[in-house]
């Protein structure tokens, strides 16, 4: 089953089928790869959250863990990138099916939105590090 069949989509009219399906396959692969990264990151994050909320959540407590810690910085940068891209491709799939928003321009816009979101996450991660 190809990526386009899986999402029940038909290639946009007036566009060579191969280019469209190839782009969709790239997005499909990107979403699967980011999903695998997120699977690990989210387990780490959930364990952290459940432990951190014990006895209330404070900025001091969070920053005590993250300030000057390169390992957490690297973790959050990877996490932000994976989540931003994965979420945007997911929203693209939903928009394509629900309101028929498709095509190369829309795809690029979604990926851009995902990278902007990731940028905000990286900004936050730097704020917690510095």
């Amino acid at each position: 089953m190809s990526a386009s069949e899986r999402h029940g989509e038909t290639p946009a009219a007036g566009r060579p089928r191969s280019a469209t399906t190839r782009a969709q396959t790239h997005l499909w692969v990107a979403q699967r790869v980011t999903a695998m990264v997120l699977a690990i990151a989210v387990v780490v994050h959930l364990v952290m959250i459940v432990m951190a909320v014990r006895g209330g959540l404070s900025a001091a407590e969070i920053i005590a863990r993250t300030r000057g810690n390169e390992a957490w910085l690297a973790f959050y940068v990877v996490f932000a990138l994976a989540a931003g891209v994965h979420g945007a491709i997911g929203l693209r799939n939903i928009a394509a099916e629900a309101v028929g928003l498709r095509g190369r321009g829309a795809d690029l816009a979604w990926v851009a939105a995902g990278l902007v979101t990731a940028g905000f996450g990286i900004r936050a991660a730097i704020g917690l590090y510095a």
């Binding site: 699967r32 999903a35 695998m36 997120l38 699977a39 989210v42 387990v43 994050h45 959930l46 959250i49 459940v50 432990m51 909320v53 014990r54 209330g56 959540l57 404070s58 900025a59 001091a60 969070i62 920053i63 932000a80 989540a83 931003g84 979420g87 945007a88 997911g90 929203l91 939903i94 979101t117 905000f120 996450g121 900004r123 936050a124 991660a125 730097i126 704020g127 917690l128 510095a130």
Partner: protein, 113 residues
């Protein structure tokens, strides 16, 4: 319309995965914006965290934690199906995903209150 497919547990799993993914994707910019306030100092972030220290916010956080765990477990089911060919006992896999999500939510709730 043939509705048989929609009464299968995997259809429910699809809907839960879609709704949880959608809500998580909408939560993400908010989450990053809140954490970004730490740039202006610890006090700013603390101010926000104190604002969320009420039953309504905690209920919302619990819901988000459940959604995240549900999306994680459900996503792993899809990946196992696609890449490892785990086709058998999909009903049980869906039930296990739901169980994991509720368990994580319960642990969060027990810790947060």
């Amino acid at each position: 319309m043939d509705l048989r497919a929609r009464s299968h547990p995997t259809y429910l799993a699809f809907v839960v995965h879609r709704v949880s993914g959608l809500l998580l994707a909408l939560f993400l910019p908010v989450h990053f914006w809140v954490l970004g306030t730490a740039i202006q100092g610890e006090a700013r972030l603390d101010g926000f965290l104190r604002w969320t220290d009420n039953p309504m916010a905690k209920a919302a956080e619990t819901l988000l934690v459940v959604l995240l765990a549900a999306h994680l477990a459900g996503g792993l089911r899809v990946l196992a199906l696609e890449f490892l060919g785990w086709r058998a006992r999909q009903k049980d896999m869906v039930a296990a995903s739901a169980g994991i999500a509720l368990l994580v939510g319960l642990v969060f709730l027990l810790n947060v209150v």
